[in-house]
Amino acid sequence: MKRILIVEDDRDMINIYKDIFTGTSNAFSIDYEVNAPAGLTKLERNDYDLIILDIIMEPMTGDSFFLYARNKERSKNTPILIVSVLSRELLEALRKMNHVRFVKKPIKKEDFLRSVNDALMLNNASIPSS
């Protein structure tokens, strides 16, 4: 069972995630957070195997969330899957960082689940198997 945190401020998008992850409850345990600061609090209290992150959010943007998350002991190596409409060039800096994958909206169920699985593999090498 992999723990996933989804930080997304759009209720509609959360509904789409819920639909995509329907029937995967054996594989994934998912926390949804519509508010980035609240998402950071969640990161302090839990260990996640993957963070799925939106970029265009208010009042805290996804890229700020990303930097905070990387500075927290518990989440500094957690793989992050960025899901955004922003173009690749704007996210080039984020992509160069460790343990980051990028998926451009719109997403399709099968493709997206494959990306989630790929992203989950990112940390296998560096996390001591427990």
Binding site: N15, I16, D19, I56, E58, P59, T61, V85, P106, K109
Partner: protein
């Protein structure tokens, strides 16, 4: 010592062949190359005189058919100058005297013929002197005549006067210029024709001229008819007989003054155009690249004082790369291709070290005798910035539009799966997502079009008028869900008077929508409250939130076009700038209060809407 014999043509009036030979011998001995012709009768004398030219006539007093005195009379009829010597064997004193009176030059006794050569030499000398003297006199007459003509026909007026100002002589030009006859002028004084005459001044001037020589002075002459004209006068002195006089050569400078004035005026106009031109202008020396002139706009734009500019060259204002590029296109000295040169876009330094984008138009001119360029330097920094803004807008807007489109695509994907699985709940959720995002697309497209129309002055399309209460209800509905979802307390307060007020729907809805939208967006907990009330000065709309607030340095930027605190923040960056445009149209005021980041924010808009006035204003605005 050998001397060249002097040719001498002698007419001898003599009946004695012996005497003739004797005489010739005397002259030859005195080194004359004598060519002698001898006549004995008056008839022969006349004929010979007609035919030939002689240097001297030597005549014997006593001749068989006539005498020496008669010969003299004949000769003097023809030629007054030719020397005439009378010789005689025995002649008394009376004859000698009467001969001399009749014009003989000398009287010599035959016994004393040795005196002949010296007498001849003396007479020839005298005749030469006489002729030279006469020529000199003739020349003098001629030159005087010429001079008089010159004076008369001179285009300048010439006035001769004494040191008391009394006019002694004038030329005809003076008469025509002043409208007097010569007779009227001679005898008058300078005070009659010089309008600026004062005795003290001119007496002093004339004294100076007498002491130091010619001077050039300006004056104003008065014509007989009382009109005036400006003159330049060249005054000197000259000696006439025993008297020292002043000669004034007077030139009418009316035309010159007029041209000078026209030139001064055109120069002044040019200077004015240069100085008051709103665009920065400067002139630089094409050879040294030094600044020769700058206008006020250039001083303001570049930050250098005029003095600093004139001590600098172009190198100072060009960025290093641009200066190299500039040197390549520099007009070569003598390049006759003298057209206006649009040199395009360049980076120029201000004094404070900041760079600005300028568009350069250069035009060759001659300035203070130097090949120079007149340059118009148009600051297009704002234009370039606006272009960048536009590009940013297109980027932001396309991102903003991409999100709902992506949402709809994903919802459609979800919908097809829901239909396949016959999952009614998922169908409803997908439908809801599609519905929401179509609304969002509508709103975004409307905002962009509204912004575009308003910033291009096309925003004043006829608007329907509604009660403010109706708009409040719409706003309540628009934000009810999103506020509740975030757990925000969303309240709207409005006084009864304002609620009944008729307002233009588009304007007020847009103001309220954008203010509330902004407040809800940036508040994650607490409240968003709208307070609308009637003030003496108009309608006050206040939107307060307990959101993230805004630091003071950014408060001014809040209403700028495309301003976003962060590029990853949602939105077009247009909403609040549209609010500002509308408030400006109403000549209203707009204020931001925030104690800083995280301290919440309050925006207050006051629209001076009177009972009737606003609609008048709007109408007049619309007609424009």
């Amino acid at each position: 010592m050998f001397t060249m014999p002097i040719p001498l043509r002698v007419l001898l009036v003599e009946d004695s062949q012996n005497d003739a030979v004797l005489l010739e011998r005397e002259l030859t001995r005195a080194d004359y190359a004598v060519v002698c012709e001898r006549v004995e009768t008056a008839e022969a004398l006349r004929q010979t005189l007609d035919k030939n030219h002689f240097d001297i006539v030597i005549a014997d007093y006593s001749l068989p058919s006539f005498n020496g005195l008669q010969a003299l009379a004949i000769i003097r009829e023809v030629n007054a100058d030719i020397p005439f010597l009378l010789i005689s064997g025995t002649v008394g004193e009376e004859i000698a005297v009467s001969a001399m009176r009749a014009g003989a030059n000398d009287y010599i006794l035959k016994a004393n013929l040795a005196r002949i050569p010296s007498a001849v030499a003396r007479e020839l000398r005298q005749v030469r002197v006489r002729i030279e003297g006469r020529h000199a006199l003739e020349a003098l007459h001629r030159s005087e005549h010429r001079f008089r003509n010159l004076v008369e026909q001179a285009t300048d007026s010439i006035v001769v006067h004494d040191f008391l100002g009394k006019i002694v002589d004038v030329n005809s030009r003076t008469c025509s210029a002043l409208g007097y006859t010569r007779e009227e002028l001679v005898g008058r004084t300078i005070s009659d024709i010089e309008a600026t005459y004062t005795k003290e001044r001119l007496t002093l001037l004339w004294k100076k001229i007498a002491a130091h020589g010619t001077m050039i002075v300006n004056g104003i002459l008065r014509r007989k008819d009382g009109t005036h004209f400006p003159v330049e006068v060249n005054i000197g002195t000259f000696e006439a007989d025993t008297e020292k006089l002043l000669i004034a050569i007077v030139r009418d400078v009316t035309e010159r003054k007029r041209q000078e004035e026209a030139l001064r005026r055109s120069e002044a106009q040019y200077r004015l155009l240069f100085e008051s031109n709103p665009h920065p202008l400067y002139v630089y020396d094409n050879k040294t690249l030094e600044f020769l002139a700058v206008n006020e706009a250039a001083v303001k734009k570049y930050g250098y004082s005029r003095e600093e500019f004139l001590g600098m060259n172009l190198r100072t204002i060009y960025s290093a790369d641009d200066f190299i590029r500039f040197q390549k296109i520099l007009r070569k000295p003598g390049d006759s291709n003298g057209g206006v040169d649009e040199q395009g876009e360049w980076k120029h330094f201000r004094k404070d070290g900041t760079l600005m984008s300028v568009e350069i138009i250069s035009h060759p001119i001659i300035f203070e005798g130097k090949a120079a360029e007149l340059v118009l330097s148009n600051d297009i920094t704002e234009k370039v910035k606006a272009q960048e803004m536009k590009e940013k807008l297109i980027r932001d807007v396309s991102h903003e539009l991409k999100t709902p489109i992506a949402m709809i695509e994903m919802a459609v994907d979800m919908l097809s799966r829901a239909l396949e699985a016959d999952n009614a709940g998922a169908v409803i959720r997908a439908h809801h997502i599609i519905d929401n995002n179509i609304k969002r697309l509508h709103k975004d497209v409307y905002t962009i079009l509204d912004f575009s129309a308003r910033t291009q002055g096309k925003g004043n399309v006829p608007q329907r008028r509604v009660r403010l209460r109706d708009i409040i209800e719409e706003i309540q509905n628009d934000f009810k869900d999103s506020a509740a979802h975030k757990g925000l307390v969303f309240t709207i307060k409005i006084d009864a008077f304002s609620a009944r007020k008729q307002v233009f729907y588009n304007d007020i809805k847009t103001v309220l929508y954008n203010l509330v939208d902004n407040a809800v967006k940036f508040t994650s907990q607490g409240c968003v409250s709208v307070n609308i009330k009637k003030l003496v000065k108009g309608l006050q709309i206040q939107v307060a939130d307990s959101g993230c607030g805004i630091e003071e340095s950014n408060q001014k930027k809040l209403f700028l076009k495309f301003y976003k605190r962060h590029p990853s923040l949602p939105g077009t960056g247009l909403g609040l700038s549209i609010v500002r445009e509308i408030v400006l149209t109403y000549k209203g005021t707009l204020r931001v209060d925030s104690k800083g980041e995280g301290q919440g924010c309050r925006i207050t808009v006051v629209l001076p809407i009177g009972e009737q006035r606003r609609s008048d204003e709007k109408n007049s605005h619309r007609r424009r």
